[in-house]
Symmetry: C2
Subunit: 295 residues, 2 copies
């Protein structure tokens, strides 16, 4: 099989696992459940649960205790997309070719659907207590999940982006937003995979460093594609950062420096991963593909 | 000391505990932290953490493992108030005599502050793993917290209220909203207190029934006060339900039946509590005062 075929198969596997944890659309509150499922089934790369599962496998994990956390991280990611798209935030009407949640269900229900998914993430993750004997291990994973999602993680980064409208950022602010808004959930994904598989604290810390590099390279590659790709390849308008007066790594440091930075961080990420002396060739290729992607 | 003096002292103790878990307003994301703290320090009865602490004491709990959960339940309650007040929801400009979060910080930051508090609740509750030796007990408390908050709890109830605008409700819808929107967090508060103190599953289930009655009586008493009290005593406009065409227990069944219902449910709650054969006179008086309150 080519890497693309393996990737497609892995994405199918991950999606099937995530879907198991979606609520059935019944009961008095079914409109809320329908709004939540609408956004959860809107597609996407399922990158975060995939990185989680493959890191879990890297450390020899084989049980289903990882499944609830895979669903949880995708719910948190989807929560952030629903709230980002709201009129008071980015005011987006379309995402991945479908109308956004507030366009279909109204603004009030979209706010509640986002809240509902954030909360369901924790409710779902708690189901791991019934699968994994070691309750403290699940507790550690919950700590990482909540810390990387919250005020010192994704939400902290998002708030700085919102408060500054992403414009005229200082280097420090840009770094803060990239590390937290994009990076923190990728760090959570890989670190939780390691923890639930029984990795040592030292190993989990190494994995976290790899994930931080992956997140940063992924985001800078996004900036690069915005100026070098085409709408046809990317599936969305290019040069959007310039149009929106967004400060990005490319506008701040220039395209050539951005490319050099991605290459340097990627190399470091792969080297650090290899230094663990554990083998998961698919994870290695997956990380490589994220960083060198053309769309 | 009179009950009122004991209550004031208890409220001070609870508030001091909750405040320990609020974030320091520093760092790049300090506007978010400031918006979160603004609403957390806006006053209120601190009823939920107080019920949690007193139920914990009812079952002989003495450690600090309950503290993070007390802060967490108040954060979740405050999250729901911030999002309820948003323009797309109730569009309220004032709460307890202060401007609401979105008026002071803007709508985008208010959405994020609500999200931030919901997430911080779980991040904070996870700190109990470091205090309580029995990780599975903390896990059980987390399960209850997330289940009672989410789609089958507070948020589920809120979504039905929003979808119906609270008007022309069927008896079934009204019961659903009362049990979930108000009742679920009170059930979580008391049940978590019981669980963390080491109560048996049977005892925790009894406590849950008491809490469900307390929540229902509390909500119907709210409806009664809206038509029988005065703005001076209540501190907010009366007859607001009629003005907003809200279906309430009083509009559906009449004032006299509402009063009888509160009396019957309260008596049952106190009887069930007494049946546990455990003593916490303050908790008993607290429950009694909530149900017979004049404001």
């Amino acid at each position: 099989m080519t890497f693309e075929e393996t990737l497609a198969e892995a994405a199918g596997e991950v999606q099937e696992i995530v879907y198991r944890f979606l609520p059935e659309e019944t009961g008095t509150q079914k409109e809320l459940l329908s709004a939540m499922n609408y956004s959860m089934t809107a597609g996407g790369k399922r990158l975060r649960p995939m990185l989680m599962l493959e890191t879990y496998r890297l450390f020899g994990g084989t049980s289903e205790s990882i499944y609830p956390f895979m669903a949880a991280i995708e719910m948190i990611h989807t929560h952030s997309l629903i709230h980002d798209d709201l009129p008071a935030m980015d005011n987006d009407e379309y995402r991945r070719g479908r109308k956004t949640t507030h366009i279909v269900y109204g603004e009030a229900m979209a706010i509640l659907a986002g809240d509902g998914l954030l909360n369901l993430a924790y409710e779902t993750a708690c189901r791991a207590f019934a699968v994994e004997q070691d309750a403290l291990r699940v507790g550690k994973a919950l700590q990482v999940l909540s810390a990387k999602t919250g005020i010192s993680g994704m939400m902290g980064g998002q708030s700085v982006d919102v408060a500054s409208c992403g414009c005229n950022l200082s280097e420090e602010q840009l770094d803060f937003i990239y590390r937290l808004k994009t990076g923190a959930l990728i760090e959570a994904s890989m670190k939780i995979g390691a923890i639930l598989a029984g990795a040592s604290d030292e190993e989990a810390a190494v994995v976290e460093r790899v994930a931080a590099d992956v997140g940063m390279a992924f985001q800078i590659q996004d900036d690069i594609l915005d100026v070098t790709s085409s709408q046809q390849v990317l599936g969305k308008p290019i040069n959007s950062d310039e149009k929106n007066h967004k400060t990005t790594f490319v506008t701040m440091k220039g395209l050539e420096n951005a490319k050099k930075e991605v290459a340097a961080i990627s190399e470091r990420a792969i080297d650090t991963l290899d230094g663990l002396n554990r083998k998961n060739p698919f994870l290695r290729e997956l990380i490589f593909s994220l960083i060198t992607r053309k769309k």
